[in-house]
């Protein structure tokens, strides 16, 4: 019974972390699938989202949940800046240009954050952090549960939006054939803004939700973007469903590894899966060869 409880505990922890990987990976996989561009500066959206939540709640004294919503708005604005300043100028050129431009942006933003925020780790105390609930003998931290619930809610809403709405259809059409999508009256520049705004919002939300669980550091984006990249590649580049399953799956696997083996093996697991998938199924678990799509 103790073992069962321990497993349940680790699975919940894993789902929380996995949810954050998923929030990051969704934006990255959409940017890749719809716009053919790779965003190496995605982790900085996550980091700035966390610092935005810190700023609103700790400096301005706004309630935590409102601060999270404001951090999402900051994420939207940052996403739009990414599109206008980094990605639009290199669209339609060699894809390597976007890689280099976003790598440069990542280094710049990370160091600017170090300069402005300082290197010392910060924390966001929230009213939920100390609270625990007992669910069938499993003790659960309310902040973690909140993060998980919000993440799942947002991912379901996003999935519905991409699958059923007019703009979601336009995004998928653009992913499949940009030229013909333009012939249908879809403005590709608008779609790109929408994709980056969405990606920015999701990453910033992730940062704002885990900010209170972990500590805030300017380098936090670098660690997260690496994991999100593994999720994107393993799930299949451009696949939304792949990012969702892989993100949560990887989080749970990592968490179980930490709980039952050793935390030293956490990153070993992710990279082992990455290598295995690249070896036997290079298009990713949910990826399609040749064509791309939602």
């Amino acid at each position: 019974m103790d073992l069962l409880l321990e497993i349940a505990q680790q699975v919940i922890n894993g789902l929380v972390i996995g949810g954050i990987y998923t929030l990051m990976a969704l934006g990255m996989t959409m940017i890749f699938g719809i716009l053919d561009q790779t965003n190496f500066a995605h982790g900085e959206l996550y980091m700035l989202g966390a610092y935005a939540a810190f700023f609103f709640s700790m400096v301005l004294g706004i309630p935590y949940l409102v601060s999270v919503c404001l951090a999402i708005l900051v994420g939207v604005l940052l996403g739009l800046m990414y599109e206008w300043l980094i990605f639009r100028p290199v669209r339609g050129k060699d894809p390597l240009n976007a890689v280099i431009a976003s790598l440069g942006a990542s280094i710049f933003i990370w160091n600017a954050a170090l300069l402005v925020f300082g290197g010392a780790p910060r924390e966001i105390p929230t009213p939920f952090l100390g609270e625990k609930v007992n669910l069938l003998g499993v003790s659960l931290n309310v902040q973690r549960l909140l993060a998980l619930a919000v993440t799942i809610g947002i991912i379901l809403a996003l999935y519905w939006w991409i699958g059923k709405s007019r703009l979601g259809r336009a995004m998928r059409a653009t992913a499949q054939n940009r030229e013909v999508a333009a012939l249908m009256g879809i403005k590709i520049g608008r779609v790109a803004e929408l994709v980056f705004a969405t990606g920015g919002a999701l990453a910033a939300l992730g940062g704002a939700l885990v900010g209170p669980i972990f500590l805030l550091q300017p380098s936090m984006g670098l660690l997260a973007v690496g994991k999100a990249f593994i999720v994107v590649i393993v799930g299949g580049m451009g696949s939304v469903l792949g990012a969702i399953y892989t993100g949560f799956g990887l989080g749970v696997l990592e968490s179980l590894t930490v709980g039952f083996l050793s935390s030293a093996y956490r990153d070993v697991i992710s990279f082992a899966i990455l290598i295995l998938v690249l070896w036997v199924r290079p298009q990713g678990l949910f990826g399609r060869t040749g064509e791309r799509g939602g």
């Binding site: 336009a170 998928r172 054939n177 009256g185 064509e291």
Partner: protein
């Protein structure tokens, strides 16, 4: 209605169109004939704004549209059925049609267009929830035509709709084009299948290495010795 005056177009440094003059009047079916590489597809791409002319003028409804992007020309009433159909393979038939209606915001209008397309192609009704990539070539062509109709265009541009279809389906596609024309839609039809195209067209132009070398009524072109030899195999 649609008029090209001395249009030059390039792919990079390569000149494809050399002073193309062409006119399509309201209610007409005009066909643009020519061999592979003559510049037929380039002409259509230049009209809808996927390419921009380096010289000359494209006038649609008394407006110069040289610099417009494709998402703007479709709002003015031009709609292209691209070569090779190019349906969105991972979208369903219904979703493909709805993307075609992207510029339409009036729900009732969209419903009407949808009902019209389903009536024109009952086959698409049966398969509306199927992914477009799983349709046969003929069904994909119908979907591509239906999708272009969803924007309720005034001028309908078709790029080789008969390409790769069986003779029976080719007949059906050409009959459909005539049916659409009877609904007051103006049509510019690019074809390699000169005989079939001239059967339904009012007038025609012949494009050779980027230049219009012949033009006239469909009946006169069918009798023309050069056309008979080069395009009709007679």
């Amino acid at each position: 209605m649609l008029r090209l005056k001395g249009v030059d177009a390039y792919y990079g440094q390569l000149q494809i169109l050399k002073g193309v003059d062409l006119e399509v009047r309201p209610g007409e079916i005009v066909t643009l004939l020519g061999a592979n590489g003559a510049g037929k597809t380039t002409t259509l791409k230049t009209i809808v704004g996927l390419l921009h002319p380096r010289a000359g003028e494209i006038v649609f409804k008394d407006k110069v549209i040289n610099r417009l992007a494709p998402d703007e020309t479709v709002r003015l009433g031009l709609s292209l059925v691209p070569e090779g159909r190019q349906v969105f393979p991972a979208l369903t038939v219904f979703e493909n049609l709805m993307v075609g209606a992207f510029t339409q915001r009036n729900k009732a209008e969209i419903e009407r267009s949808l009902a019209f397309v389903y009536e024109l192609f009952p086959r698409l009704t049966e398969r509306k929830n199927q992914l477009a990539g799983t349709l046969s070539g003929g069904e994909q062509q119908m979907l591509a035509i239906g999708r272009a109709l969803m924007s309720d265009p005034e001028v309908f541009l078709l790029d080789e709709p008969s390409l790769g279809l069986s003779p029976l389906l080719v007949e059906k596609v050409f009959a459909t084009i005539q049916a659409i024309n009877r609904l007051d839609k103006t049509i510019l039809l690019v074809e390699q299948n000169a005989y079939q195209a001239l059967q339904i067209a009012h007038r025609g132009y012949v494009l050779e290495t980027g230049r219009i070398v012949l033009s006239g009524s469909a009946a006169s072109l069918l009798q023309n010795e050069h056309i008979k030899k080069a395009y009709l195999g007679q």
